[in-house]
Structures are given as C-alpha cells and as structure tokens.
C-alpha cells in the first residue's frame, strides 16, 4: 500500500531528533487521532540551517515528517513557507488517499515551527498571519 519511497523514509528517516537551542519549535496533531508531529528549526540569517523532527504516528506520518524536513533544510524561510502537503506527498511518490492527512500535518508542523520563530523574534512572516496551529488538522 505504500510506495517504495515512503518505506525508504520509514526505514531510514532523515533528521530524527531534537535541537536543544532551537529557534523555533512546532507541534501539531494529537494522540487521539494517532499522529503528533514536532519540528525543531535552527535559523540563521533567514536560512534554515538545521531541522529535526519527532513523530508519533503511522508509517506515512513518519515518512512525511522525514520528507518535509529534507525539503526545507538549507532553504530560506520564504521557500519553506511554500512547502505544501502536495509537495510532500509527491516527493514520496504519492500517499494512499486515507493517509493524505499525514502530509497536511507535516506542512502544518513546519508552519507551526516558523510561527514560533516569528513570535520569539517579533517578526512577521508573510503567509502566517491567519495560521492557527491549534486548528484541528483535517483527516
């Protein structure tokens, strides 16, 4: 049911872990639904220097987190803001329809970490004005 790419990221997830002095941390999802994603960002001069994640969830949730971190590492904040759930799913060669919410969660986790960074640094990131990380992610 999963593509080889999903399984590859599940077997060898990239960027697992925490960043102790992270500049931005975002956590989305809840245990009730069975998925929680937490993303840590290290940002220097508007560039995502490092990113780590921790995920409680199914195979596609772990693979989506892994892929999302890979897609934003080394990118600018603006580029990271352009990350969509579709891009995550496509980079994984697709997700089963019932698992698309995992890619949505990955996108939200990234945005949530960026929002945390913007709040800590009193800056405004374009596109995050209306973002509400506590909004229930849709399945």
């Amino acid at each position: 049911m999963y593509t080889e790419k999903v399984m590859e990221h599940f077997r060898n997830p990239r960027n697992v872990g925490e960043i102790e002095d992270a500049d931005g941390v975002g956590e989305v999802g809840n245990a009730k639904c069975g998925d929680i994603m937490k993303i840590y960002l290290k940002i220097e001069n508007g560039i995502i220097k490092d990113v780590k994640f921790k995920t409680f969830g199914c195979g596609s949730a772990i693979a989506s987190s892994s892929m999302a971190t890979e897609l934003i590492k080394g990118k600018s904040i603006e580029e990271a803001m352009e990350l969509t759930n579709k891009a995550v799913a496509e980079a994984l060669d697709g997700l089963p329809a019932v698992k698309m919410h995992c890619s949505v969660l990955a996108e939200q986790a990234v945005k949530s970490a960026l929002l945390d960074y913007s709040k800590k640094n009193n800056i405004v990131i374009e596109g995050l004005e209306d973002f509400n990380p506590d909004e229930d992610h849709h399945h």
Binding site: A31, K32, T55
Partner: protein, 392 residues
C-alpha cells in the same frame, strides 16, 4: 531467522495438510451435486451427511441442528436477523455487547434501523461483561441475547454458561459468536444452553469461506438465503462439499489434539506476555489475565503507534496485528479497546500477537528480541516519550 513468522492466527490460520488432502477428491472425482440422484450425487451427499453428523457430535448437537454457511459473518447475520424477524411478534429488543465482531454489531445496527431496539452492554477493563448488567437489561420485549464466546482482539472468554442459563430462565434466545472459541475450547451446546452458535473453519486450520450455524431444534428462525431446498430448506445454494469436508476434518483434528494444542499455546503465550512486559517498559497486557484464549497476546506499547509497529515487524518478517486506527481503516482505534476504557492514544499503540499450532519457542524469542529494538527505535522518535523515564 530467515523465514516468515506468522503470529496472526486470530485473523486466519494456515490450512493443515490433512485437511487439504481430505478436500481434494471432492473437487475432482467426487465432484457431484449432493442433490443429484445418480452415483456422483449420492457420493457427495454421503460426505455431506457424514460431515454434518461429525460436526454435530463434537458440539454436543444432533445432525439436524447443523447448517453449513459461507463462514462466520454469514452465520452471525443469519442467526441475528433470522431469529429477530421470526420472533418479532414476541418483542423487538436485542441485548449484545460493545465488543462484538462487526458481523454482529453491524447486523444489530441494521436491525435498529428497522424497528428493533438494541442494548450494547459495557465491559470492564478486562473485556468482561457484568452478569448483573445483563439481568438488568432484560425487558419483556427481549427476544435475543447475542454475546460472543471469546473476543477476537483481546481473547477474553465470557461466562457463557451463566449467560445461557439466564437466557433460558427468561425464555430468550441465546446466540453466541464462537468463531474464536471453536478449536480452542470444548463446547457442549446443550450444557451451555446455547440456541444458536456461529463458527468458521479458517480460524481452526480449515478452509476460508465455510462455516456453520448451530440452530437448536425448535428455534424459530427465518432462512437468510432463499432459493433451493438445501440445508433443510433453510439455507439455499449448492453445498460447498469440499469445504464442508475440510471444515469437518479440521474440527476433528482440533478436538482430537485439544489438550496438546492448549498446553502448548498457553505456554508460548505466557512466555511471550512475560518476556515482553518484563523487557519493555510502559507495556500493559490487554484482556483478562486468566480467562483468555490460549493463543492470544494483546499488549499496549505506550507512546508508539500500532501501524508503524506492524510495518517495523514486517521488515523483520513478523506478521502481527494492531488495534490502531491506521490498520482498522477508520479514524478510530479498536472499539474493543475503547470499550475496555483504554484512551485513544494507548489504543493506537496496541499489538496483537496470536499464536497457533505452527509457532515455536524459538519464534517467540525472535519476536521478543526484535520487538525490544523496534519499540526503542520508535520511542526515540516519539515526541510523547520525551519526558518519560525508561523505568516506572
């Protein structure tokens, strides 16, 4: 270990060689339709009659009380809908539990949409019903009690004899879904006061797509499949003779070797439970500590999710199952675990390992060893485990 380890025997079992051997002639030289009067027909009819007789004897029934069906789901549907529609002049109330298989739950929900009332009994933390709840749920409109013999997810065995007695004393029909019990527990329908009992061959090393419904003599029940006169006018369709022969052979083997089967499975089961709960922190056995099926192990692994656990086990060639939503095809985790009071989060992380006749102690060791590593790896990735200590 480079072979596949199958520990999902509650989902289905491999067929035994003797069973297949018994079936083959009925596909080829003995292919006749049991309704035909010539030699091939008579030969098939004879096999059918003999099978029915053997199945009846094993269950403490008579041959006229055994009806072959396409499996557990059909038997459950037939028993419940057939009995309710045939007895609706007496009342419209059904009593069941929250932990039944979907074949029972969805049949009851269907009847609810068609004028029947259903009481779904709660269970305790072990998955056991409370007999007083059952007594209190009975009304003068109650026509059917349907309670499973043993649960497919957590293995809990209900007090069937007591339930049967209550049903009998109140003149209410008693159906039990014994799909998981048959082949693991000695059953005498008379002694247990059972009116209707469902069984399915693929759970005891027989073929898939064949089962039976025991219907106690005198029970009012409508046919479920209308058509020809097969199965004493109650279940139409040319009989699946080869599968009936396979079901019967599998049932005979199961009861010939019952003690040996049970002793072996219980030993492996208890070792598996012990080794997992001792070596992995934050684990909890689900189901009843004693009143449980001999091959059932169901353990919650806190802070991890079931599907990623199953995928990881599959990577080391271990087949198991989980109560996680991701594996149930719905958004909610197992209704059985939720009914037992587990939180959603913990229910998502449950693992069911169901042992069978072909499992070995070596396999149990291999599973435990791998599970230790897999759980550690997934917990290291889990944000829920960050502030939790290894020891508790």
């Amino acid at each position: 270990m480079n072979k596949n380890i199958y520990m999902d025997n509650a989902a289905t079992t491999p067929m035994k060689k003797e069973v297949l051997d018994a079936m083959i002639p009925y596909y080829t030289e003995k292919f006749g339709n049991p309704s035909s009067i010539y030699a091939q027909g008579r030969e098939a009819k004879k096999a059918l009659d003999e099978s029915r007789d053997k199945v009846a004897r094993i269950l403490g029934a008579t041959d006229k009380e055994i009806f072959f069906t396409s499996g557990g789901s059909e038997s459950d549907n037939w028993a419940i809908k057939g009995a309710c529609y045939a007895n609706k002049n007496k009342g419209n109330h059904i009593i069941t539990t929250k932990i039944e298989h979907h074949a029972v739950l969805h049949a009851c929900e269907y009847l609810e949409r068609n004028g029947f009332d259903v009481t779904y009994l709660d269970v305790d933390e072990y998955g056991m019903i409370d007999i007083d709840d059952l007594k209190n749920a009975i009304t003068d409109k109650t026509i059917l009690i349907t309670i499973m013999f043993a649960n497919n997810e957590v293995g809990t065995i209900q007090p069937i004899k007591e339930i049967g007695k209550i049903a009998k004393d109140n003149d209410i029909l008693f159906h039990t879904d014994a799909v998981q019990a048959v082949g693991n527990i000695r059953i005498d329908v008379e002694e247990l006061n059972i009116d209707l009992l469902s069984l399915s061959a693929h759970k005891f090393y027989g073929p898939k797509g064949i089962g039976a419904l025991y219907i106690k003599k005198g029970t009012k029940i409508h046919p479920y499949i209308h058509g020809g006169a097969q199965e004493r006018n109650k279940r139409a369709g040319t009989e699946n003779v080869a599968s009936v022969v396979g079901l019967t052979k599998a049932l005979e083997l199961a009861y010939e070797n019952l003690d040996e089967h049970n002793n072996k499975l219980k030993r492996l089961r208890d070792k598996l439970i012990n080794d997992i709960t001792k070596n992995i922190s934050h684990t909890k056995l689900n189901g009843h500590p004693e009143k449980r099926l001999p091959g059932n192990v169901n353990i919650s692994m806190k802070y991890i999710e079931g599907e990623s656990l199953l995928l990881s086990l599959d990577m080391v060639n271990i087949a198991a199952s989980s109560g996680s939503a991701c594996t149930s095809g719905s958004l909610d985790p197992s209704h059985v675990l939720l009914a037992m009071g587990l939180s959603h989060g913990v229910a998502h992380g449950s693992l069911r390992l169901s042992l069978g006749d072909f499992n070995t102690e070596e396999e149990v060791d291999y599973v435990v060893e791998n599970l230790i590593d897999i759980v550690a790896r997934l917990r290291k990735m889990s944000p829920l485990f960050e502030n939790v200590k290894e020891e508790e």
